[in-house]
């Protein structure tokens, strides 16, 4: 049986539903030494901000059982460099580009999104409104419905590309934020970003991370992520990109059954640098074995 892995997230067409998650894949250069990026559904790049950022002090990553904490703090080379160095390189790799955008103010977001859209180098925007690491940053935007809606409305006015809003899981009812993003004009939703966590070093008796708290990702968060995708898919009709602890084709299928249209893979890249192409092949095998002809056939089956 031949399986059709293509998906359309609104006007964004992907040859398969698997892409690396923002912040876990840089701008693609490093993993391109392991495989051709053209195998991927798309590449979601590191959060890009108006100005370059060094991020938080180190240590800023730490392992926890079946997961990790990170407090990178949006380290990135800044918009100018991304436009002049990173995106032009990535644009030559024959893979759709989704630019993850972060900012401290509504104006920051709008400027970055505007410039990215005008550059013609990207295929979609993913608005990171949920980074828990930067004190000045995303947190406020991502956890209050009215604030989020305002931001999305503002960005919408300058955004000529498909606009995905990436939701924070650190909220009481993620559906409410999803609805706010939708009514602000989002074309789709990405979820989940990391859960806020902490690990303490028993020797120093202090938090391991210099930033004290960090974002929890990896297998540990998968059940929460699947539930949130499910909760959002029940209430909002927009395309959903699901993520959180995806390590295998089975995991990807689980997110699709929960209502995701496509998936992102983050922490798994660190455990296995070939995670993304492997997951694509595992998803294909699973569908073949189960006689599933295309992704839509199982999308939201658990709703």
């Amino acid at each position: 049986m031949s399986v059709d892995l293509r998906v359309n997230l609104g006007s964004l067409s992907l040859k398969n539903p698997v892409m690396p998650a923002s912040g876990c894949f840089g701008f693609g250069r490093e993993y391109s030494e392991y495989y051709s990026l053209s195998a991927l559904g798309a590449v979601v790049v590191k959060a890009t901000t108006l100005h370059p950022r060094l991020g938080n002090p180190t240590p800023r990553v730490s392992e926890v059982t079946s997961g990790m904490l990170n407090a990178i703090g949006l380290a990135n080379p800044g918009l100018e460099n991304v436009l002049s160095e990173e995106l032009p390189w990535l644009a030559r790799q024959d893979v759709p580009i989704i630019v993850n955008v972060a900012g401290d103010t509504m104006d920051d977001y709008c400027q970055v999104v505007d410039r990215i859209c005008q550059s013609g180098l990207a295929h979609a925007i993913e608005l990171n409104v949920s980074c828990p690491n930067v004190q000045l940053g995303g947190l406020a935007f991502g956890v209050e419905a009215a604030v989020l809606r305002n931001l999305v409305e503002a960005v919408r006015t300058v955004c000529t590309l498909p606009l995905f809003v990436k939701l924070s899981p650190n909220v009481t009812r993620i559906q409410d934020l999803a609805i706010a993003a939708a009514s602000g004009g989002a074309d789709g939703l990405s979820l989940i970003n990391t859960l806020i966590g902490m690990k303490i070093d028993l020797n120093t008796r202090r938090p391991v991370l210099a930033n004290r708290t960090g974002g929890l990702s990896g297998r540990a968060i998968k059940p929460v992520a699947v539930r949130m995708v499910h909760d959002v898919a029940k209430e909002v009709r927009l395309p959903i990109i699901g993520m959180g602890g995806i390590y295998t084709g089975h995991d990807a299928a689980e997110f699709v059954m929960a209502g995701a249209w496509a998936v992102e893979v983050g922490t798994a890249n660190f455990t296995d640098p070939y995670a993304c192409p492997r997951i694509i092949e595992e998803l294909r095998s699973f569908m073949e074995a189960e006689g599933i002809k295309n992704i839509e056939e199982i999308r939201g089956s658990a709703l």
Binding site: S62, N70, R219, T271
Partner: protein, 249 residues
């Protein structure tokens, strides 16, 4: 790669010998491998361990590691015949000396292993080596004889139980005119060395440590700052070896 041997060197330092295919021709001394712990489920982050020795002909790779936590405990339990998943070689190792002249190698604790492969390579190139190795105490010393075959070795222990007492910098008393310094060990030791050689024109290279996730430069987890603190450097990808002018120690 296949585990060929796994031996205790000191009370908590072990050497793991691996055999099998590996891009040996790409290895420069000071590079590291990223070791998968178990099947990566409970321990999703690989552990960075320096290449202590490697032999392209015999197709072997040796890792010297101190048992400190879950990952290195797991490594300690590996038995010959088992396979372990190592990714590498990663990062940028020690560059060849830029100027002729004697070379000083200074290592502390588990900063010593990568310097062994370096010393082997430099020795094969007939470079004159002074090697200073610092350990906590007598029981902590390893590979002194191996290094002895490659250059002139001074051992220091903090408690003086063997070799010179005190820190490695104190063993550098009568400054010879070294052209190049290669060093790996605790941050405090690297800083002390830099201070020690301030004002001389020795070319210093240091290998840094930081907690890592990807190990290949993609996650920006392991950065340090460049000299004027204007930009980040990724220790896993741009390092772990830097010239000491390049970064903030």
């Amino acid at each position: 790669m296949l585990v060929q041997g796994n031996r205790r060197l000191t009370s908590d330092i072990w050497v793991l010998d691996l055999v099998g295919e590996f891009p040996y021709d790409k290895v420069t001394p000071g590079q590291f491998v990223h070791v998968l712990i178990g099947d990566g489920t409970a321990h999703p982050l690989r552990r960075p361990i320096s290449i202590a020795s490697c032999d392209p002909v015999g197709k072997t790779l040796s890792l010297v590691y101190r048992v400190v936590g879950d990952g290195t405990k797991w490594m300690r339990e590996r038995r010959p015949g088992e396979t372990i998943d190592v990714l590498g070689p990663l990062g940028h190792g020690f560059p060849a000396p830029q100027r002729p002249g004697p070379v000083l190698i200074v290592g502390g604790g588990v900063g010593v292993p990568p310097l062994y492969q370096l010393a082997k390579v430099l020795h094969a190139q007939n470079v004159e080596l002074d090697i200073v190795l610092g350990f906590k105490d007598h029981g902590d010393v390893f590979w002194a004889d191996e290094f002895g075959k490659l250059g002139h070795v001074t051992i220091c222990t903090e408690d003086g139980s063997v070799g010179r007492p005190g820190f490695v910098t104190e063993a550098l008393g009568d400054d010879r005119d070294w052209a190049t310094l290669y060093s790996c060990g605790p941050r405090s030791m690297l800083k002390a060395l830099k201070t020690h050689f301030q004002g001389t024109d020795i070319q210093g290279y240091v290998s840094l440590e930081e907690r890592m996730a990807c190990g290949i430069g993609a996650c920006w987890g392991c950065t340090c700052e460049n000299a004027d603190q204007s930009e980040a450097r990724r220790i896993c990808k741009d390092g772990p070896v830097f010239s000491w002018e390049e970064i903030q120690l």
